[in-house]
Symmetry: C2
Subunit: 343 residues, 2 copies
């Protein structure tokens, strides 16, 4: 039996994002199997038979591909993006696990691809530049309670987030529900990115504060990203750049707190920094002087000081002015007027 089965990712849409590995295997295939628009994307060659099917028949499609490979065909199952991220690879393995035992011995490979969230992130900057999660917002295969629990825990972990399948005709209300959960849990104006038809000629990128996001901004061709509490906007003449810094930076260091910091991680000989803000409702320095010290504070301070580059750049103007307001939450983001001084 010389048949094989490959599950391949076609990337987010642009042919220039299909890896050479995938193109090579498609050129050798006798059969290509997948959702109609993805099969249509595959380059024609005379010996290739196309098997298109509608979505929501993933297991039937997987079994069809497995039958053909068992019969000696060279079969490629195509997904958009990466086949292992909310796509056909898991469906094929479900079919194998519950199907004919001979399917386990097939020559089977998964070829990775550029998944939509990476192309969406690249299109606006680097919002997934720090720890992040990817959640499928469809409740076709899991209950809403699970989705909402994951959203709340992801906010608690301060992950940046990528949301697949935010909305469809058969699920008109789901994204609104997710959005409300996120607004309640985040309680700030961090950037949300709506990336529609990413990498295609009609790509549209829309960056809005979470507070202004509305359900109709997403459809089934949209992948949605949400920044963490740390995510920054760089304003410029064109579209803003959105990115999440690599480091978890400190938002304030007060003398009373710094006395507990090991000497080796103090800033210079003073070991203290003072944060002030131009907005009267967020005078963090005076607030901190009265506040009890939360236990995670010392680690935050250490983190900031270890991150020498961050510490040095705090003497700049453009960066820290905005960074602090972002830390302070509500109404912050890029609109702030605060500043930080390290002494």
């Amino acid at each position: 039996m010389s048949g094989w089965l490959v599950i391949a990712g076609l990337g987010p849409g642009d042919d220039a994002l299909i890896t050479p590995e995938v193109s090579a295997v498609l050129a050798e295939a006798t059969d290509v199997v997948g959702y109609i628009p993805y099969v249509d994307q595959v380059a024609h060659h005379p010996n290739l038979t196309r098997h298109s099917s509608d979505n929501r028949v993933e297991l039937d499609r997987a079994r069809h591909a497995l039958f053909m490979a068992t019969a000696g065909h060279r079969v490629v199952v195509v997904s958009s993006g990466d086949p292992g991220v909310f796509a056909m690879a898991a469906a094929v393995f479900e079919a194998i696990e519950t199907g004919d035992s001979s399917w386990r011995d097939l020559n089977i490979r998964v070829l990775p691809g550029v998944t939509a969230m990476l192309a969406a992130s690249a299109a606006c900057g680097a919002p997934l530049g720090h720890d992040f999660c990817a959640i499928n917002l469809s409740d076709n295969l899991k209950p809403w309670r699970v989705i909402e629990k994951r959203l709340r825990l992801a906010v608690g972990a301060d992950f940046a987030m990528a949301f697949y399948n935010p909305s469809s005709k058969s699920r008109p209300d789901g994204f609104g529900r997710a959005l409300q959960t996120l607004k309640d849990a985040c309680n700030d104006a961090r950037p949300m990115i709506f990336a529609r038809n990413v990498s295609r000629p009609d790509q549209m990128i829309n960056v809005v504060p979470l507070t202004d996001a509305t359900p109709e901004m997403a459809d089934m061709r949209t992948v949605v990203l949400l920044g963490s509490s740390q995510t920054r906007l760089i304003q410029r003449s064109g579209a803003p750049l959105v990115y999440t810094p690599r480091s978890v930076s400190a938002w304030a260091i007060h003398p009373r707190i710094s006395s507990g910091v090991p000497a080796s991680v103090r800033v210079g000989t003073q070991g203290r920094a003072i944060m002030t803000t131009g907005r009267p409702n967020t005078r963090a320095a005076s607030i901190l002087a009265r506040a009890p010290v939360p236990p995670e504070f010392l680690d935050t301070i250490k983190s900031m000081l270890w991150s020498r580059n961050s510490a040095r750049s705090a003497s700049g103007v453009n960066g820290p002015r905005e960074m602090i307001t972002s830390w302070l939450g509500n109404g912050g983001g890029v609109r702030g007027g605060s500043t930080r001084r390290i002494t």
Copy 2:
């Protein structure tokens, strides 16, 4: 000024995973900037000047690239994998935000790539086939307390997980600490995947139960994946296939509970299913008959019933026998002896 700056991902290592988009831009570049092994991976052409630097100098490297682009050069900053995932894109934007304001007006683009976790996932099946998160385990730029909190919340959300930078010479103890946190929080034998030099000729994939994972299994060339509580192993003659099913499946439905399920989602006319298990210490059916009904139960049931394919496949032998033990936690995984009957 005709200079530009592109931040491009070279994929996990194999040249066949570099997108044509990235290859095209490298052919036009005058300067390539990056960590030594990544610059070495770029194909030679006569007009290309190489600027290699060691790691840990990301901001200096970014500023150097920005200076050259401002001076009219066509500069590509290369990262392995995807540049937006724990790589150079965020570093460049940090440099822009805190640097000369003219840098904001540069022609700057990010080109996505196949990040390591996708190649690692493809190499062993589809362990990231359901909701997942990606965490950088280096504490160079964030405190350990943040990492540990994220690990615990990710287990609580039942995400599959990908871990970047698990270990290095300068951080010999970090991965052991993360591993202990995960073992304590998961308390089961879900599969952990160590993917070393993924996509390269000397690729090594090691799949072990979390309980058997040890710190020395990871080094700085390893990306580590961890299944969710749902992740499955398909045993076969070669290496096992690891995948996380697309659906959150129900692990038990009891008559007393099903009376609260809307009629539309009942199974047939009976609306009930009974779960039994061969292991005396996990006789879930009898346990459930005595237990109060947790509120998330109804959603779980609905999820299972909506997922028609799962429900049908529950009559198979190989699949559900293992699926149930996976749900039951402790000592479950692929070694179970339970079964489920839908009536």
